[in-house]
Symmetry: C3
Subunit: 216 residues, 3 copies
């Protein structure tokens, strides 16, 4: 029975990872389609959104980028493209569903990033940054590719949800919680932080500098 549990948990995580990758890719492909990218361009933006954060993390941790050892991530992104080509308007209208999937992806990616970093014996603060990069940097690359100011720099508690999840992970570890429990609590805290932030319009304050200070 314990054996079953050990086997079923990774499978469940893998399904979540599939859903998260798919949702992240959709978010990239949608914005690419609004810019009238061709299929190839849309695929690259979708892939970059889905795997960009984890790739930067792995380069900084001196690991082989995770997607180079398993083709499932690129296949997920290809399915996302196929979905948008075949069911474009329907898929794009499901905004609430994708918001939930996207947030599941964010939670999972954050936990994976935190854990991978701690396994390499980096301190917690590095792990929190790597978790945040895993969850949020793909969206920054997406916005650079479509030539927009990155969305997460201007609105929404998005990356902050990753930071909160990383802190919760550290707290649970400190309290010697079981690793599975720690993962679940940490992931749920990312999920809740973002859902609540969007529902109650929690925003970080905008930085008020001299508004005339434009780049010269």
């Amino acid at each position: 029975m314990n054996q079953d549990f050990v086997i079923s948990v990774p499978t469940f995580v893998q399904v979540l990872e599939f859903i998260g990758t798919f949702a992240f890719a959709i978010s990239g492909i949608r914005l690419a389609s609004a810019k009238r990218f061709d299929w190839f361009g849309a695929y690259v933006v979708g892939v970059a959104t889905a795997i960009g954060g984890g790739t930067i993390r792995d380069l900084m941790l001196n690991l082989t980028p995770f997607w180079m050892t398993n083709s499932v991530y690129l296949i997920c992104s290809a399915l996302a493209l196929l979905g948008v080509i075949l069911f474009g308007k329907f898929l794009i209208s499901q905004q609430n569903t994708f918001f939930i999937f996207d947030t599941i992806g964010l939670a999972l990616f954050t936990v994976v990033g935190v854990e991978k970093t701690l396994h390499l014996d980096f301190p917690l603060w590095v792990a929190i940054i790597m978790g945040t990069i895993t969850g949020a940097a793909g969206g920054v690359i997406r916005d650079v590719f479509i030539n927009e100011v990155p969305l997460i720099f201007r609105k929404e508690i998005y990356a902050m949800a990753c930071v909160i999840g990383g802190l919760v992970y550290g707290l649970c570890s400190y309290l010697n919680f079981d690793i599975i429990v720690t993962e679940i609590i940490s992931g749920i805290s990312v999920f809740l932080a973002r859902i609540l932030a969007v529902k109650y319009h929690w925003d970080l304050p905008v930085l008020k500098g001299d508004s005339t200070t434009m780049q010269q």
Copy 2:
């Protein structure tokens, strides 16, 4: 005689590599000049166009970036800058010549990227991606630097030619063709794919999503 062949082939490849680097650098420098960059900015954009793809590939493969072990790539780019400074209008008017050189560079860079990756025992699909990154990512960096939406995401069979070349490489390897023959057929297929695509206006379809979905 066979000995001669072994010696002359790398030399011929090096000449192609010189031409390709020069042509890629010119493409960056031309766009930088249209944005009124200074000499330094134009050089950086030229260098990034010429070596950016290979650098990203080498970082992902955990190798030292190729241009750090041989100064010829930066010298080629400097010659390209010098060429534009001295013969700007003439060089820029040679659009057809540069189109051919640029496509030779694309073919060669793709083959180098595929081969380098396969030598590290990655599977073919990773090699195809690395070949495509080697050939096409420099142009994406160039367009990010000049603050434009990357050209290859919106028009032209460009990166797809790299993908085709990678597939052909894999097919030739599978058929146990000699490595030199494999390289030549693969490179020619990249070259032809792009030339034919431009001549006959083969484009990938534009992704039709909800055109009102702009970034909010």
Copy 3:
């Protein structure tokens, strides 16, 4: 006494490094505030400006990014954010002071980059490039994040000051100067090159290509 010297020099360098990181972060945060980024976005832009160049250098040299082994750089950037939040208008008005601090940072980062690269037995020309990347690439990332054409590509002797400092470092090494003396002379040459360039409006020529060659 010699012992004291050995101990006091790193401390002095560390203070300069603190000042440089703070000044670089301020430059990123100021521009982010002009774009109405929130606190998180401003922090990320500040951090990227301060540590982005060194991170790219370390990835290319296959080292763990320097800021992952010492939290002081992220703390400096957080203090810069706190400073702008609390004393925004005052801080932003101190343009001359920050110009000096920023130039001290540029000089120090350049010397650190050159030295780190030479210690790994790369040739001088690679070290000069790495010194320039350490000093100047953070500002390029900053400008990509705020969706502007990178400032250093269009005006000001900025990156060229790094190149000059690297050449001076190489010359001093060639003349067998003591390492501390080499560092100081090289840093001062970066500092002076930039100060004098701004004071006397030394600019690199703008590249004159065909001004109608826009990206098609």
